[in-house]
């Protein structure tokens, strides 16, 4: 500290003393008593006492800046503007004589050469009007709010009583479902037995039919094979059917043919019965040689074509994402949710039963009656169960809504399940309170989620003044989109502005009567009187 000289050279000196009579320039009335002319001045922090002529001499003596209330000399000083006709106020000393009019009474620019106009009266009038307008809005808004509170209360009561009702009806429904389940099960038992009986009979009948068909075919084949119509099928005649070659080695030898005929040269119709059982699997009718055997229709042809192409419905993970292109992202998502259809599972396999044996005969009257009865019981049961599920949903929703934080007096309840839009140059913004915020390009394009309901996020003393919506669509190299909704008092419920102050962090201004304060109890918001 020794050698450092600290000198001030005033090269361009400003401040001449003013003609202020009652108190030094820049001193508020409330501090008048500390500035007594002809007495030494003690800095307001008590740190130092100086001759009075060093007050407002444009040189800072007090650490707290109190010796220069009317000049810009002290870095931490304040200048008081009386602003007659408007609100008095303080400005930082650094704004005294800086060539910019700050005090509406022009007192801060007494030596800068700038020509300030006294605008206090005008400002006062405007402020008064503004305050009146605000008060008007607040008053009306608050009336609306009271109504909203009343409605919310009513609504809550309604919902609670409805919840009670629904809970009661749920009980009834539960009982009904149980009863119908018993009825259903009772009706299904005889139905099942009757159906099984019917099915068994049909199976037996089918076996008979199948055997007869086989016999008929055997006879046909015998005739077909018996080329010389001698009533016998000989091994030579058999040899013309190369598909019957037991080792399929492209040479159907005599011995092999004889082997098929049971070691003899030829067989008659009776003996052919044994032979038939050996060859019928392989035998190809001469007239229908090209037709594939029934029942082996190629599976592929009958598949639902969509099952081959379902990859089209998925976004391809291997394609590098076009990163920040918002629209693309959303397209992908929409496709995930909307356009994608699961591959069809409908198959045609069950068809093949009824070719050879014909269709199962209809149920007899008795069985049909049982079935109808069971079906009716099932339908009634399903319907009751569905009704129960609906009621349960209803209860859940009601409970959620009843327990939701709609403000101290549930005044925000009316916003629930509503949506409000604002159209700007490029986008339509949509706020669905307690649900989500979204943005949609005005001229086509898909919607972007700017956040789903998160929480009330106002300052501690006014937590219901801000809503926070979070976890919206992600940003390239950035956070998920989120929106802060600032609520202000208004007669109407309107989104008044939106902006994106920081990338992917949106700000929405929203007016609602529900945030209006009781105008009769909130004078403190308007500092009409001088602060001490």
């Amino acid at each position: 500290m020794v050698m450092f000289g600290h000198f001030v050279l005033l090269v361009l000196i400003g401040g001449a003393m003013s003609a202020e009579v009652q108190r030094p320039r820049g001193v508020p009335l409330s501090k008048r008593q500390f500035y007594e002319e002809d007495k030494p001045f003690t800095c307001l922090d008590g740190s130092r006492t100086i001759p009075f002529d060093r007050v407002n001499d444009d040189y800072c003596d007090c650490l707290d800046g109190s010796d220069e209330p009317g000049t810009a000399a002290c870095p931490n000083g304040n200048f008081h503007c009386t602003n007659a006709g408007f609100r008095p106020g303080f400005i930082p000393s650094s704004r005294v004589n800086d060539g910019i009019c700050d005090c509406c009474d022009t007192t801060d620019e007494y030596n800068s050469g700038v020509d300030c106009q006294n605008t206090c009266r005008e400002l006062g009038r405007k402020e008064k009007e503004e305050l009146q307008k605000m008060a008007e809005i607040a008053k009306e808004g608050f009336m609306f709010k009271k109504q909203l509170i009343h409605e919310a209360k009513q609504g809550l009561e309604d919902k609670k009583s409805k919840l009670g009702d629904v809970q009661n009806s749920k009980k009834d429904l539960e009982a009904k479902v149980e009863a119908l389940r018993t009825v259903k099960e009772t009706a299904e038992q005889p139905e099942k037995e009757a159906k099984e009986r019917h099915l068994k009979a049909w199976e037996e009948q089918k076996a008979v039919i199948r055997m007869e068909k086989d016999k008929a075919r055997m006879a046909d084949v015998f005739l077909e094979l018996d080329d010389d119509d001698d009533g016998f099928v000989s091994f030579t005649e058999l040899q013309s059917h190369s598909e019957l070659d037991p080792d399929s080695d492209a040479s159907f030898t005599e011995a092999e043919a004889q082997g098929l005929l049971g070691g003899v040269d030829k067989v008659d119709t009776v003996a052919f019965e044994t032979v038939w059982n050996n060859i019928k699997e392989k035998y190809a009718s001469e007239s229908t040689a090209d037709v594939p055997p029934p029942g082996e229709t190629t599976q592929e042809e009958t598949r639902d074509p969509s099952s081959d192409n379902d990859s089209e419905n998925y976004p391809d993970e291997d394609i590098p994402e076009e990163d920040d292109d918002e629209d693309m992202d959303e397209d992908d998502e929409d496709m995930d949710e909307g356009d994608y259809k699961p591959p069809s599972t409908s198959q045609t396999d069950d068809k093949k039963d009824d070719d050879e044996e014909g269709t199962m005969p209809p149920y007899d009257q008795e069985t049909q009656t049982l079935i109808d009865a069971a079906q009716k019981a099932r339908d009634e049961f399903n319907e009751a169960e569905k009704a129960l599920r609906e009621v349960e949903d209803q209860i859940r929703n009601l409970e959620k809504e009843i327990s939701f934080d709609f403000g101290p007096s549930s005044e925000f309840a009316y916003l629930y399940s509503q949506c409000y839009e604002l159209t700007t140059g490029e986008y339509v913004y949509r706020l669905c309170p307690f649900n989500k915020v979204s943005q949609k390009p005005k001229f086509g394009g898909s919607e972007t989620n700017l956040g789903t309901w998160g929480k009330w996020a106002g300052p501690e003393d006014n937590i219901y003044s801000v809503m926070k919506y979070e976890h919206g669509t992600g940003c390239w190299q950035g956070p998920n989109r989120s929106t802060t909704v600032k609520l202000t008092c208004g007669k109407e419920t309107v989104v008044t502005s939106t902006s994106e102050p920081s990338r992917c962090e949106y700000l929405m201004e929203f007016t609602s009567p529900a945030i209006c304060q009781d105008p009769s109890s909130s004078d403190s918001g308007h500092p009409d009187h001088e602060e001490l």
């Binding site: 050698m3 000198f7 090269v11 361009l12 444009d58 650094s94 004589n97 800086d98 910019i100």
Partner: protein
């Protein structure tokens, strides 16, 4: 702002292209930029072996006039002759020019960089024999020795060799030639010259044709190289030198490293996305000036060539440890240390200025005598600048402006990046977001504040855009190799690039800044040129094709000059719009030697990382050494989001660097100074206010830089040239002679160790006034509010302690002189005052006084007197001293 990578506003074609190119890695994609091996001429030249120079001086061709020596050189391998010109320039500079004696067509000689044809001094012949000649360089027994075989130049003072050229035999000069397979139908000149060419071509037959001589492909881009090989290169040996500096722009240490084990330092203006630190890759600007320094002498080499250039550095002591060097010293052994430098350029000629010092100040003034000095900026531009990509709309601008007042933080300029335009059409405003720019500018003017709006040199191809139509109809666009208008992708999509090398184009461009042309502009609107490397998103190495044409020259020849021309035309526009009265302020990203004459430069798209904060110091120091004093880095870091600690430390560093601007990428969260809690707001407020209190000193330093070319922000060795401890310091710096700054650039730092130079100096902490002796390493404990800054004992620094909303608001405020006494209880200083914004200082409308304090008396004399402010030219006053 701006990386070429940012995609949101790009068309779909580019989107896909980028998606392929960039698979999400963060750092620079080195593969997008050439190594020396991938640059055919660099590879060819670097393959040359030392000690095999084919060049011989033909002494019989020597002609010596009063001012100039000329001499032919012959390449004994191919018999091609070169013409050497040697000049002695005023101020201890030697200029060496080498060109082909009879080039096939003219080779490019860089225009518009030298401020005039440098005045010469007489050369005289001292002796001559068959081995060489000795010429006197005038005073100080300086001689230049020209050796004939092999050709070499030595500059000698007394018995010391200062510098040798081609001592390693790496002079390379690829003469222009006809392409063998096509020359017969390409030649259009006279029969005689055809015959000459044929003869010459025949002689070359033994020369091998290498890949990349007539065509070169990098990634998907082919360079058609219509002129074939045309590289030039030359080596310089610097005996006794271990420290070389300069050749910005590189994100590297102040002391340049040897390049033997890697790539040479590259000078090729490029838009490098997310650049990497501590490597020799090219960045946005290029100044081909290197300084060498040892305790005896400082010198400079100015290689005047605007083509792609590579600089190799090697040293015979590079590998040695401190102990090894000590051993050499003790044993008096071995060789003297020596640094060898080699410059390689793709085209043009060799035109090199050897600035022979001997002091650092001499080198600065020598270089200034060639390329001019720092433009004297308007005072307000030395204040704080608030920038962001992007302030969204007028309301945003208004509320940020109001935020500064609410938090009582001064600022002078608020900036608008590309989003303020109507669809990236420069000189226009977004009709919705900036519907009434004049209203906005008036709002700022009412608070004596200003705005900068960006104007980039790429012009949207859009027939509804006036600027495009006019440039196209006047034929002002750069042409592609086939003669059509060159088009590339940039922010607006398809864009043309005006040919700023043309004086008529620059004049037209300048006229666009006139108030009746640039709609919405007012006197408090200034300009920022970004992307002027030029950046071409889909071009080779993100820049223009080398075979694009600027009238008769290839882009190859002029590349590094393009950004300077853009900057110049813009600055001239701002001067002209005020009728030549007002000083311009223009910021540029690309630059070249001479760019200091047009305004400020910043270090481009850095990142919010501690290492980037650290590198801002050597990057700006390197620029200052080569004349560009008005340098700054984006405070906070452009890419990514800084921690609060980093942001505060960056403000504390940036406040003591010449160009002080906070900037942020579009995708980063907001970071206006008041968004990080009251405590940090207070820290940032305090440091910005410190900046404002020092504005008189900054202004005076810039006036000095404008006058002398001395850097404002300078390495310690500039002031303590004989103290080797300062030679490699780049974590601290001096502002002028009198302020020493050691910013805190370590995360969680508890203290820093600052070197206080000068055995007989004393240094005073500017906050506590605590005195410290010089010539020591001082450990300084730090807290978040600490910024270690020291005032030199023996200095007087003028400050203004009434910090107001902006510098203009402080115009009439009193000055406070901080007198720091040295051990003899004396001090000296200066004060410079003018109107802060016009050129009237040229008419001596200024006050410039010199203060001295001795025997308890402060006296002042005028350095320059003024007609307008009639003050007595000397005065003194007794002062009561606070000790």
């Amino acid at each position: 702002m701006c990386c070429w990578f940012f995609l949101r506003r790009m068309g779909p074609v580019l989107l896909l292209w980028l998606a392929v190119c960039l698979s999400g890695s963060w750092a620079v994609d080195k593969g997008n930029f050439k190594t020396c091996d991938q640059s055919a001429f660099c590879k060819r030249q670097r393959a040359m072996k030392p000690g095999e120079s084919p060049y011989r001086a033909l002494l019989e061709t020597m002609e010596l006039t009063n001012t100039r020596l000329t001499l032919q050189l012959i390449n004994d391998n191919n018999k091609v002759r070169l013409l050497l010109e040697l000049y002695r320039l005023q101020g201890n500079i030697t200029r060496v020019k080498i060109n082909e004696l009879k080039p096939l067509k003219p080779r490019y000689e860089v225009p518009d960089v030298l401020i005039r044809e440098p005045p010469t001094e007489p050369l005289s012949l001292l002796s001559q024999d068959e081995n060489g000649v000795v010429l006197s360089l005038g005073a100080e027994s300086q001689r230049v020795i020209v050796s004939a075989r092999p050709f070499r130049l030595d500059i000698v003072e007394g018995r010391d060799v200062l510098m040798s050229l081609n001592s390693r035999g790496l002079l390379g000069f690829e003469h222009l030639r006809m392409r063998k397979d096509t020359f017969s139908y390409k030649v259009t000149s006279t029969v005689a010259s055809v015959w000459d060419n044929i003869k010459r071509t025949a002689k070359e037959e033994e020369e091998k044709v290498e890949d990349g001589m007539w065509e070169e492909t990098f990634k998907s881009h082919t360079d058609s190289k219509p002129s074939g090989p045309s590289a030039v290169s030359l080596d310089f040996s610097l005996p006794g030198v271990e420290h070389v500096y300069g050749i910005p722009e590189h994100a590297d240490t102040l002391k340049l490293k040897t390049t033997d084990s890697g790539d040479p330092y590259r000078l090729y203006n490029l838009d490098v996305f997310q650049y990497e630190l501590y490597n020799p890759m090219a960045l946005y600007g290029a100044v081909p000036v290197m300084l060498s320094h040892n305790a005896q002498r400082t010198m400079g080499i100015f290689w005047l060539n605007a083509a792609e250039t590579w600089v190799d550095i090697s040293s015979n002591t590079a590998g040695k440890t401190v102990f090894g060097k000590m051993l050499d010293y003790v044993q008096g052994s071995s060789e003297t240390p020596q640094t060898d430098v080699r410059w390689i350029s793709e085209s043009g000629i060799i035109d090199v200025f050897l600035m022979l010092g001997p002091t650092p100040r001499d080198v600065f003034s020598q270089y200034a005598s060639l390329t001019g000095t720092q433009a004297f900026p308007p005072l307000a531009s030395l204040g704080y600048h608030q920038c962001r990509w992007n302030y969204n709309d007028q309301e945003d601008v208004r509320s940020v402006d109001a935020g500064f007042d609410e938090h009582d933080i001064p600022y002078d300029f608020i900036w608008l990046d590309i989003e303020h335009t109507d669809g990236k059409r420069y000189f226009t405003w977004d009709p919705h977001k900036f519907a009434s720019p004049k209203e906005m500018l008036q709002g700022l003017l009412d608070k004596k504040r200003k705005m900068v709006a960006i104007v980039d040199p790429h012009i949207k191809v859009d027939t509804n855009y006036k600027i495009h139509n006019e440039i196209r109809s006047r034929g002002f666009y750069v042409k592609n190799k086939d003669g059509g208008d060159y088009e590339g992708w940039c922010w607006p999509g398809s864009a043309g690039y005006p040919d700023f090398t043309r004086p008529d184009m620059r004049a037209w461009w300048a006229s666009q800044f006139a108030y009746d042309q640039y709609e919405g502009a007012m006197e408090n609107l200034y300009t920022w040129n970004d992307m002027n490397e030029p950046s071409v998103f889909n071009g080779p190495e993100v820049t223009m094709h080398k075979d694009a044409m600027h009238e008769s020259w290839e882009h190859r020849d002029v590349h590094n000059l393009y950004g300077l021309y853009v900057h110049r035309a813009t600055a001239e526009g701002l001067v002209e719009r005020s009728g030549g009265v007002e000083r311009p302020f223009v910021l540029t990203r690309a630059f070249f030697a001479g760019s200091q004459r047009y305004g400020a430069v910043w270090t481009g798209d850095n990142a919010a990382e501690w290492d980037h904060l650290k590198i801002s110091i050597p990057m700006c120091l390197s620029l200052g050494l080569v004349g560009i004093s008005f340098c700054g880095a984006d405070v906070g870091g452009f890419f990514k989001s800084p921690s609060t600690e980093l942001l505060v430390r960056w403000y504390q560093t940036g406040a003591y660097q010449p160009f002080f601007r906070a900037h942020a990428h579009l995708d980063t969260p907001r970071r206006e100074p008041w968004l990080f809690g009251p405590e940090n707001t207070a820290l940032i407020r305090e440091v910005i206010r410190q900046r404002y209190t020092f504005l008189p000193y900054w202004y005076q330093l810039f006036y000095l830089a404008y006058h002398t070319g001395e850097p404002v922000m300078r390495p310690l060795w500039v002031e303590y040239p004989q103290d080797p401890a300062t030679f490699a310091l780049d974590d601290e710096f001096l502002l002028g002679r009198d302020l020493l700054v050691h910013p805190v650039t370590e995360e969680g730092a508890r203290g820093v160790t600052a070197y206080l130079p000068g055995k007989h100096e004393v240094w005073f902490d500017i906050h506590t006034f605590q005195k410290h002796n010089g010539g020591q390493n001082l450990y300084i404990p730090v807290t978040m509010s600490s910024i270690p800054v020291f005032q030199r004992g023996g200095s007087i620094i003028p400050r203004k302690l009434r910090v107001r909303r902006s510098s203009t608001c402080m115009e009439h405020d009193p000055y406070t002189l901080y007198v720091a006494l040295d051990n003899q209880r004396t001090a000296e200083g200066e004060l410079y005052i003018d109107d802060g914004h016009t050129f009237n200082y040229e008419k001596k409308e200024l006050i410039h006084r010199k203060f001295s304090f001795a025997n308890g008396v402060l006296s002042s004399v005028c350095v320059a007197s003024s007609q307008r402010f009639s003050l007595p030219c000397s005065s003194s006053s007794d002062l009561d001293t606070k000790e």
